[in-house]
Amino acid sequence: MSRLPKLFTGFTHAVAASLVGLMFLTFILQIVIRYSAQLPWLAEMFPFMEPSRYGWTLEFCLFLWVWLVFWGNAFVVRQQDHVTFDILYNSVRPKVRRGFFVIFSLVIAVGLLASLEPTWSKFYVLRLKKTATLSSLFGDWVRMRDVYLVYALFLIVVPLRFAWLAYHAIRYGVDDPTNDAMDSSLK
């Protein structure tokens, strides 16, 4: 890989890893705060442990979760990570398989891209809607549309990826599923 794509991949992966790591830490924080609330002297001694400062933890985890799902699918999830019914796909001749791959990749690319504008206009009203608790974390500017922004990003990146995969398949064919690295996680 040349340097720029490598840097980009490194960055997108680091973001995804941070989302998971933050979610983990936020949950731990939530438990610690709830448990420490039973000892009121703690909050008196350390004002930052005042439980009412942490009303945002639950919604923040949900925020991390949706960003994880769509950022992850845009940049981190590989083709072989997806759940597929592969019975027919694996049993046909390579040429037919390539045809299948190109067809569904293009259908997905066109479909998702076509839904970008209508989806964004459904999100339009959310520019008015405050989040339930995230203002106390991010500041008063944050609105639900900012939270949902990642889905629009997903609708742009994923079609580009599928279009690229379709081009690649037309040009070079598709992998033989019998010798792919399906069990890379079962090392």
Partner: protein
């Protein structure tokens, strides 16, 4: 059934059939449905985002995945495996039994079968395949089958949902799930024993009993994990969802400080890997949310309800009919939708026919959980595929015997209400 609904189902069958990722298939089919029905196609994304942004209990999924990945990288799974092999490796189907028993123990941990399968499921599948005795499809299939027990044994989110729509006591429902849950565990172990004999899964070299204390000591901190989690939940420190974070935290402490088997770089890889699996699962769950919207939008529930008004049939026939219908619906709908949207339709008729509501609830929930592993659309199968990358076709091929005995177990629960009601009655249930 409308034209656009047929179009939607047809698109799913064709696109999924030629090997497209299932989550994207559903999304595309939903867009076509909305277009044909004259609704805005932007709704699909809105429904997906709204649903995921509400899925509190699913937050356990990424956390359990982190926990499982830490346990694998931090040699915790290896130590557990070597302990289990020493303990049960000499018996036929030993690790398969361990799998079922682990599900029974951990079933108390989360309210959700999906979280259970993503969590211990991943760990134990790796243990079973590493041991070399079992095919990976078999390991995945028994894991999926035993994860269905999770929400039958309390605590259980599906039972809370059922109680809300049926006005039944959650306490008695929880009690009612215990015997059926154990019974399901027993039939799965029976199948595992039978299959292991029939297929001649190799036995492990018996580990001398004198080895056992050392291996126990070696695995002891890891064996403490269930105890800590169960104390966390029943001692009131954490909610079942938060327990997932505790599991990850404990595994991290063990791996980093106690076993000293985890570098910063490895930890980073674990986070990336967890992000990858969680994102793939999240998108599949999002697909289920969109299908739910389409079914609601078709107003299928109220069409069904019209046929149920004034139904006059034998209660047992009614129960059997409902169960067949739920099993079929389980092939396309997810459990939450069935519990919240379909089951309420049967409740008035149940009351009229004098069917006990706790009995009906437990039976219906067992049914919904079986639906999670019925091909072609079984969320548990998808989740396990996403976490382990074992091809769906291999899991589906191996899941049939387990599915079969679970359906038989369900039939027993329908025919003998005592199986469900004995414990609640012991604690004062008047039904």
């Amino acid at each position: 059934m409308t034209f656009e609904f047929m179009l939607c189902l047809g698109t799913i069958i064709v696109l999924a059939g030629i090997g497209a990722p299932i989550a994207y298939v559903i999304l595309i089919a939903a867009l076509l449905y909305l277009l044909a029905a004259g609704q805005g196609i932007g709704i699909a994304g809105k429904v997906l985002m709204d649903g995921l942004y509400q899925s509190f209990i699913l937050l356990a999924v990424p956390l359990f995945i982190v926990a499982a990945n830490i346990m694998n990288a931090g040699t915790i799974s290896d130590r557990l495996l070597s302990f289990c092999v020493a303990l049960v490796g000499r018996f036929r189907g030993g690790l398969g039994h361990v799998n079922v028993v682990a599900s029974l123990i951990f079933s108390g941990m989360s309210g959700s079968a999906v979280a259970d399968a993503a969590g211990i499921g991943k760990i134990i599948i790796e243990m079973m395949t590493k041991s070399g005795q079992y095919t990976r499809g078999y390991a995945a299939a028994i894991t999926a089958a035993s994860a269905t027990i999770g929400p039958i044994i309390p605590p259980s989110i599906p039972m809370v949902l059922y109680a809300l729509v049926s006005n039944t006591s959650i306490g008695y429902l929880f009690l009612g799930g215990i015997l059926p849950g154990l019974f399901m565990g027993a039939v799965l172990m029976a199948v595992n024993l039978w299959m292991s004999k029939r297929r001649g899964f190799a036995l492990e070299e018996p580990v001398p009993l004198i080895e056992l204390p050392r291996r126990t000591l070696n695995a002891f901190p890891a064996l403490l994990m269930p105890a800590i989690l169960l104390y966390g939940i029943y001692g009131g420190v954490t909610t079942p969802t938060e327990a997932a974070a505790v599991a990850a935290f404990y595994a991290l402490m063990l791996a980093a400080l106690f076993y000293r088997a985890l570098s910063m770089k490895a930890m980073y890889q674990i986070l990336v890997e967890s992000a990858r699996s969680s994102a793939a699962i999240g998108l599949v769950i999002g697909g289920a949310l969109i299908l739910n919207y389409i079914v609601a939008s078709e107003n299928i529930p109220s069409l069904l309800a019209e046929h149920l008004v004034g139904l006059d049939i034998d209660p047992l026939m009614f129960l059997l009919g409902v169960n067949v219908l739920l099993l079929l619906l389980g092939c396309i709908l997810d459990a939450t939708t069935i519990i919240l949207v379909i089951i309420p339709l049967f409740i008035p008729t149940c009351r009229e026919l004098g069917i006990d509501m706790v009995h009906f609830g437990v039976v219906a929930i067992v049914n919904c959980m079986i639906g999670l592993i019925t091909p072609p659309y079984g969320i548990l199968l998808f989740v396990i595929t996403a976490v382990t990358r074992i091809p769906l076709s291999e899991i589906i091929r191996e899941v049939w015997p387990f599915l079969g005995v679970l359906v038989l177990a369900l039939l027993c629960m329908v025919l003998w209400p005592g199986l469900v009601l004995a414990l609640p009655r012991l604690f004062g249930y008047a039904g």
